[in-house]
Structure formats: structure tokens, C-alpha cells
Amino acid sequence: MADEVSEETIRSLEATALEIRRDIVRMTHAAGSGHPGGSLSVCDLVNALVFQELRIDPARPDWPDRDRLVLSKGHAGPALYSALALRGFLPREELWTLRKLGSRLQGHVDRGKLPVIEASTGCLGQGIGMAVGMALAARLGPHAFRTYAILGDGECQAGPTWEALMAGGHYKLSNLVVILDRNLYETDGSTESIMGIEPIADKFRAFRYHTIEIDGHDYRQILGAFAEARRTTEGPTAIVAHTVKGKGVSFMEGTHVYHGKPPSAAELERALTELGAPSGAPR
């Protein structure tokens, strides 16, 4: 069965992706700190989830049957905040409060401050475990939602990530989808030069995941993988999404430098020009 993805859907996602990427560089610049590189790499995955795949409703953010998204790489909050704002879960002007005192938009996503976030994360290696717990709860019922978790590649060096993945495989959680943002870089450099995680797809397979490798910036492939995951009933699905760190901003691409460093004023102008946006920080 072909998974029909219309041209209109693709064009619509590409349009929101551009908005999210502009927001990411503006937000991190305004905050004076943050993680643009990993937010840009995960942007298309988050965008596809929030606008297409997840069963969520801005009118009912606490709907018990809603699908759950756990952003285990909690430092990529700017991508999720922007997507949720565009989808109507929070006011767009709130985006510029990122990392400021009193803001609901914490440096790492925070459920206590912003309840639409399903799980506070940031200390790595914990998100998959919480997602496994949510998937178990959904299996017990009565609310049969699906759970999606986005994992960073540096996070694959953390032992508890594998504890949690092992549990997902053991319990055959077919309602769980783990998405790896494989952007190749962590804070200090490339994952393979620091502590290699390859062959990562084989590791997921060994942990009993139906494993799909995709280009994490190609919406047909992303939505196709989500559809394949929904058809997978024997156990959990892992999607290894090959992405580009800093995707969309040439000087942030393929480097660890902007993992945890925001753009300067000049860099922001350059980034916005590349992203086809009017120059200048918002307001």
C-alpha cells in the first residue's frame, strides 16, 4: 500500500519548517544562549510530528487520548516551542521569552512550567524511559494513545538510553516510536571521534526494534516511516533519521560549534537572509 503524501502537504510542511528555522535562530539569539545546531537538525522531524503525525488538538491540550511526544534531547526545545506555537498551543510572542527569568520556555523543555510538554527532559538518557512508561500505560488502557520519543545521538552514549530501549523491546511496545536525530555531532565534536555509536541501526535491531533509516529532512521519507511504524504491530519502531547539524543555515551546518552557541547579531542577519526572512530580531 502506498502512503499517499500530497504535494500540498509537503509544501505546507516546508513552509512551517522555514518558520521554525527562523524562530530557532531568532530565539537563541534573543536568549543569548541555547542550542541552535540540534534544534535545526531535528526541525523537520518535530514539524512532521506536530503538524501531521501526532493526534493532538490545541483546543484540548490535556485530551487523555492525545499522542505523546517526549523530546529526550530536551536542549532542542526551541524547535518544539516554535512548532507548538505555530500549531496554536502557545502564543507566538512567548517564543522571545526563551531562557528569560519567569518564562515558561525553559532552556530545556519543562512540563511543570509549560504543561503541553509531556515530560521535562534535559539531563540526557531519561526520555526513552519515560516514553516506555507512557507506552506501557497506553497498553494498560483505557487511553490507547501512541508515544513518540526523539533521541539525540550524543545521548546514545548514555547507558540508561539502552536500558530503556531494552525495556521497549522486551515489552514489545508496538505503540512506541523512537526517532534518532542522527546529526553526527555533540558538544565537543563528532560522535564518532569522541565515543562512536555506530553501527547504530544494527544496535536498534539487536534491541528488537523494527528499524528504518531515512533522510531526516525529506518529508516523504519521514511521513513514510511514521506510516510504516503504525503498521508495525510486533514491537517498537526505531527511525534512524540521518540529519545535518545546523540544517538550513550554511555556516552552522556540519559542525559542533553551534551545538550550544547562539548566533551573534551579524550571524543572525546572515542566517535570516539564507532562510529568506526579513532581517532583524522580532520586535
Binding site: G112, E118, A119, T121, G122, C123, L140
Partner: protein, 317 residues
């Protein structure tokens, strides 16, 4: 004065109470990390296998899984030995459970030196300090089986994270089981000296208090099972009424209840305070009760500290 009752298992009380709760609360789930026989969660697991998750040796991730279940409408109890539940899993308890204010109850068995033969690696004497320092965490250290039952019911009934520290050894029944969160239990009234105690040390506190009574010294004994929330009024009343406080705990004196009592009194009503507990060292293998004696919690030491406080207050020569 009621003598201490026969020794009973705190772990059995926990396991039986879980079983009882399982029949009343269909949202209850229980997790364990390959120690379900020791922690007694196996009792629940046998009756309610669909709601029981033995995740194997992954205590940190057990806490995250429990949090995920709790964030999806379940009440989750998670059990292991204290060294794993509070030590191995600390940052998972901190972020997955406490930061998310997830409705997870950690019931840790094998707290303190009374673990015995397993030795210093397994004798957790830092957990009260670690858990008490977490915002939003309730911390309870029952002295006996009836309090264990009452505490299990109390944390189940109260929304939010909790840590209950149990002892491996059977302990004499010293309370009537009317535990209340945030309330100290006055097990002996007295006006010359106060002994504050938690867990296994409550029985020793009563033994010394009864000896002192025969010598005409009136000793108030407070069971502070509810470490957090802490019954500050009861402590300050005791400080005012008796003028000196001796604290007994099977835990490091650096970060435990003694430190809490000393800081609370010194900020509000300074009186002499002496702390009996584990000094700044790890334990070792040995007979459980001999370990308490070896590491500074003997009856003799408690008597000496009591007399020292009475002397400082001018109540004896």
C-alpha cells in the same frame, strides 16, 4: 509504659499493604528491579501480573518508566534496595520523578547498616539526605511494621513523589500504627531530655528512655518517621520543654535527621543537640546489630550522650 512488641518485618508489611491497595485502586502499578522477593513486591506481582513490571537491573530507568506511567494517570510504586533506588538512580529520581512532579512512590528496602553481610557497598547511609534535598519529595522512615503499613497508605493517598525507607531486619513494634504525614509521634512524654529517633533507632531510644526513667530522668521520645514534611512545632516544643535534644539515626550524621534537628533548633530555639549516627565513613560486612554497635550507635553510646546532655544542662552532676 508499653514494652516493645515482638519483631516484625517491615518489608512484609509493605508487600501486604501493596496487595491490599491493588484490589482497591485499579490505577496502581508496581515496578521492581530484580529484587522483588527481597522487597516483597512479588506479592503484588503474583496477584496482579498485568500491573507489575520487573524491569531487571536497571534502577535508573525503572524510575523513568515509573514516571512515564505516572504522567499517564497511574499511581506507580517502585522498589529496590536503598543504595540503588536513591544512590544509583539519583538523577533519575530528580528529573524524571521530582522535576516532573510525577506520582511515583519509591519504597526502598535495605536502608542503613542493618543490611549486614552484604557490606559497605550495599549499606546506604546517605539516602535520607539525598531524598530530603529534592523539592517536592516526601520522605518517611518507619520505625516498625504498623508504621510501614500506615506510611504506604499515606503516600498512596497523597499526590506527588515520595520516598519510604525500610530496614531489612525485623524490628520490634513500637508504635500503634497511627502514623500521620508531617506529625511526630510522642512515644514517651518527658521534661528533662528529648530523644528524636527514626527507623531502627526508635526502639533503642525507648530502651534508653526507660532506663533513664528508673533513675528519675524524664525523657521525651519523638518518632520522626515523617522526615519531610517535618514536624517543626513538635521539635521546637520539645526543645523548649526539655532544653536538650539527642538524635538517633542509622544514617550519616552529616546529612541526616540529626543535621535537620540541629539546623532547625539553632535557627529557632537553640539548645544543645547531640547526633548519634554513622560518622563520615562507609560500613562493612558483619552481623547487623553488631554493626550498629561498632559504628557508634550502641546503647552505651546513646546513654553516654544522654548523660552528657543532662550534665550540660545542669540536670545531673
Amino acid at each position: 509504659m508499653t514494652p516493645a512488641g515482638p519483631a516484625e518485618s517491615l518489608r512484609d508489611a509493605y508487600g501486604k499493604t501493596l496487595l491490599e491497595l491493588g484490589g482497591k485502586d485499579p490505577t496502581l502499578v508496581v515496578l521492581d528491579a530484580d529484587l522483588s522477593g527481597s522487597t516483597r513486591t512479588i506479592l503484588f506481582g503474583q496477584k496482579y501480573p498485568d500491573r507489575f513490571f520487573n524491569v531487571g537491573v536497571m534502577e535508573p530507568t525503572m524510575m523513568s518508566i515509573a514516571a512515564g506511567l505516572a504522567l499517564s494517570g497511574r499511581v506507580a510504586f517502585a522498589s529496590s534496595f536503598a543504595v540503588f533506588a536513591a544512590g544509583q538512580a539519583y538523577n533519575f529520581v530528580r528529573q524524571s520523578i521530582c522535576y516532573n512532579h510525577a506520582n511515583v512512590k519509591i519504597v526502598a528496602t535495605h536502608g542503613g547498616l542493618l543490611v549486614g553481610g552484604d557490606g559497605g557497598t550495599h549499606q546506604m547511609v546517605e539516602d535520607i539526605g539525598l531524598m530530603r534535598g529534592l523539592p517536592g519529595m516526601t520522605v518517611i522512615v518507619p520505625a516498625d511494621a504498623p508504621t510501614t503499613r500506615a506510611a504506604t497508605l499515606a503516600v498512596h493517598a497523597r499526590e506527588g513523589p515520595a520516598y519510604v525507607r525500610l530496614t531489612r531486619e525485623n524490628l520490634p513494634v513500637v508504635t500503634d500504627g497511627t502514623f500521620q504525614l508531617g506529625k511526630a509521634a510522642e512515644l514517651r512524654s518527658g521534661s528533662d531530655l528529648t530523644i528524636v529517633a527514626v527507623g531502627a533507632m526508635v526502639a533503642r531510644a525507648l530502651e534508653v528512655a526507660d532506663e533513664l526513667a528508673q533513675m528519675g530522668v524524664s525523657t521525651r521520645v519523638l518518632d520522626f518517621a515523617s522526615v519531610k514534611p517535618f514536624d517543626e512545632p513538635a521539635l521546637l516544643r520539645a526543645a523548649r520543654d526539655t532544653g536538650a535534644v539527642l538524635v538517633l539515626e542509622e544514617h550519616s550524621v552529616l546529612t541526616g535527621v540529626g543535621a535537620l534537628v540541629a539546623s532547625t533548633t539553632s535557627e529557632n530555639y537553640p539548645v544543645p543537640v547531640r547526633r548519634v549516627g554513622v560518622p563520615d565513613v562507609f560500613g562493612e560486612s558483619g552481623d547487623p546489630w553488631a554493626l550498629l554497635d561498632r559504628y557508634g550507635m550502641s546503647l552505651e553510646r546513646i546513654r553516654d550522650e544522654a548523660w552528657e546532655l543532662l550534665r550540660v544542662r545542669g540536670k545531673v552532676q
